[in-house]
Amino acid sequence: MDIQNTQSQMRKGVLEFCILSIIRQGEVYPSDLVERMKSANLHILEGTLYPLLTRLKNAGLLTYRWVESNSGPPRKYFVMTEKGLTFYGELERTWQELADAVHALTQPQADQSSEETQPQP
């Protein structure tokens, strides 16, 4: 079993959720998105991000608008759609359940009252 592979798979599983949660907070430019994720210590390659964004956009979860830029070609800023919001809601619920389950399983003796406060990435 390759430890790196497992690690990256674990990361990848929540990648989409993280990206959507950032976009939900407001219009965002992909490279800024990468920066914010980096600052939260979650690394992603831009080469991975673009296809993901395109797929999400094609699925109707995101939309974008062009913004003129003075340092190169016009930039694509991504925003969340209504559909994206409900999709995100589903993901968030799943994440809560998952985090609870993982928490309960990995720390079985920890007290059960703090289940409401789970860390956000």
Partner: protein
Amino acid sequence: MIPIEESAYDMLKQYVESLRRFFANEEGRDEIINDIEGRIAELFGESLKKGSTCITDEEVNKIIESMGRPEDFEGEEGKVHSQLGGDDKQEQGSSAYESAGAPPRGRLFRDESDKILGGVCGGLANYLRVDPTIVRLVFALISFGAGTGILLYILLWVILPSKSLQHTSSTKRLYRNPEEKVIAGVASGIASYFNIAVWIPRLIFAFPLVIGIITSIFKSAFWFDVDPFPGIVFGSFGGTLFVVYAVLWAVIPEAKSASEKLEMRGEKVDLNTIKNTIQEDLEGFKTRAEKWGGEFKDKAQQFGQEFGQTVGQKGQQFGSEAGSAIKRGGSRIGRAIGILFKAFFLFIAGIIAFALLVALLAMIVAGVGVFPLKNFFLEGFWQSFLAWSTLLLFLGVPVVAFITWVIRRIMGVKSGNRYLGFTFGGLWFIGLVCGGLLAASIARDFDARARDKQDYTIVQPASGKLIVNVPDAKVKVYGRWFKMDGILNISDDSLFLNNVRLRIVKSNDSLFHISSYKYSNGADEVSALHNVKEINYGINQQDSLIYLDRGFSLLRGTKFRNQSVTVNLQVPVGKRIVIKEAVSRRLNSFHISTGRNDWDFDEDWNNDYGWSSDVEYIMTVGGLERVNKNDTIENNDDGENSAVEKYKKSKEELQKEYDKKQKEAEDLKKELDKPVDSTKYHYQKTVSYSQAPHAPKAPEAARAIAAEEVSASSEASRIIFMQMVL
């Protein structure tokens, strides 16, 4: 825009290309690539703003690192993909082979990453280190040739293991060049493959067509045989090249991406590279042969046990692969069919364009040919002027434009000049207007029509029989001139028309009479009559022979106004007439028509029925009849004529024929009863079959026809028209 080092640029190109390949099966591939390229451009811009003068390798490397190489997101992609629920379009079918790693050199595989059907050609090409296109072409050729190619292909497909092979990009590949194309970029692709100027392969492809055009122009100019297409287009050489072009179009891939374009122009493939490749292979062959020898021994042992099993597996694998190949092949074939259709339509369009061109050229040539004729058509300065304008502008301009276009396409001149088109269009429109004015003006000159009658005195033949003949024309006729109704020949100072028709009617008295009716059009009655008077048509007699002129001449100064002559020959009842075969031989068509005994025979040349030359006819009260009935059987061997002939016959004659036929039938019956050898029997049998049915039918037919006969003959005396269109 952005200064970049050449090596850095190549690196970037390769990177983008690798991305493109990685996202090959992504739906939004182009969008993703565009986004990434946009981002890279932005990063370049930032770096330039910081003060660097040029993008270096280092900077490109840095950017690539931050963007990530395809290898870096290989694993995660699949994961994210399946998580999203998207269908995984990556080829999974033979992942077992793919995971085996880099292929050992010199083993023959099917190429998983470069395939149209099963990757056999791609693998072979990789093994031989040649362009896959060439291998595919060879396969296509032997498949077309004997069909063995297909078998061989299937065999190799089953036998060879498949593997995603790495491609050395150093070799040059044959692509179609989409940037420089006339039809599909085949010629320019070939040109860049062989490092030659584009117009050379183009000319090679176009050459038969050019030759065809030229020959057809000459042909049409000298023989007026404007039907050059089968010869050119379907002629062996031009046709073959066309097929070759279509095949190349289908087989050669289009250079879409930058790296493909680089490959297209890439390192020159020369004999040395091929020699080196072969040498390398041969050296390796010995060791491989030894290794294989050992392998083979083991394998042979295993083989016995595993054979059944393996065949089953292979079969299954092949089945599933073939299934997906059929799907993929289906789309390929669909595309190929699409291409073929495209080629076909281009072909048709080409033929149409070409036909128009040749027609125009022929018309110009003909126009020049008509030049001496124009004096007979045109009146005054304005008509000449309009005629020339029409000729030059309406017909000439499209030809010039087309030739210009072809030359520009072949030389690869990209036209930014719209004025050329406007100029051609404008000139052509002027030509069109001129043509219209000319047609209207000429049509006005044909408004009125006049007729004049001229009687000829003839000596009544002592034998009571008149023989009509047409002597050789005074003017030697060469080739086929215009098939314009009745113009036979022109020279500078005269126009020879043969708009002459012959009509035979019953005489009112006991004498032969010959008269001619001359017709002409004109702008008004007076000028039409004037034109009529100009017609000089001669009829000569030698004893019982009547010679009709083959036509009549219009002298210079007289205009062509649809002049025509109808010769009216009156034959008294009981007298005979023979139309010499020479009359019909020199005619394009030879009709005899019935008509009413009014004089409107200018229009009424209907219902020709059987008329035999060199046969004596006699004028009866009911019309012309054959003198010798036996002639009917001898001459009228085609069914339609004999049927019409019968219609003409009176009851007695039919009765006579019926008796005769019956006698014949009886004779044949008698002969049938005789014992005969087999060959003769066959012959007789057919004869009796064709003759016998006549016998019982004849009485009914005779009655029916007789009834009609009575009403018809009482109506009017029969008139027989003979049309002479020489």
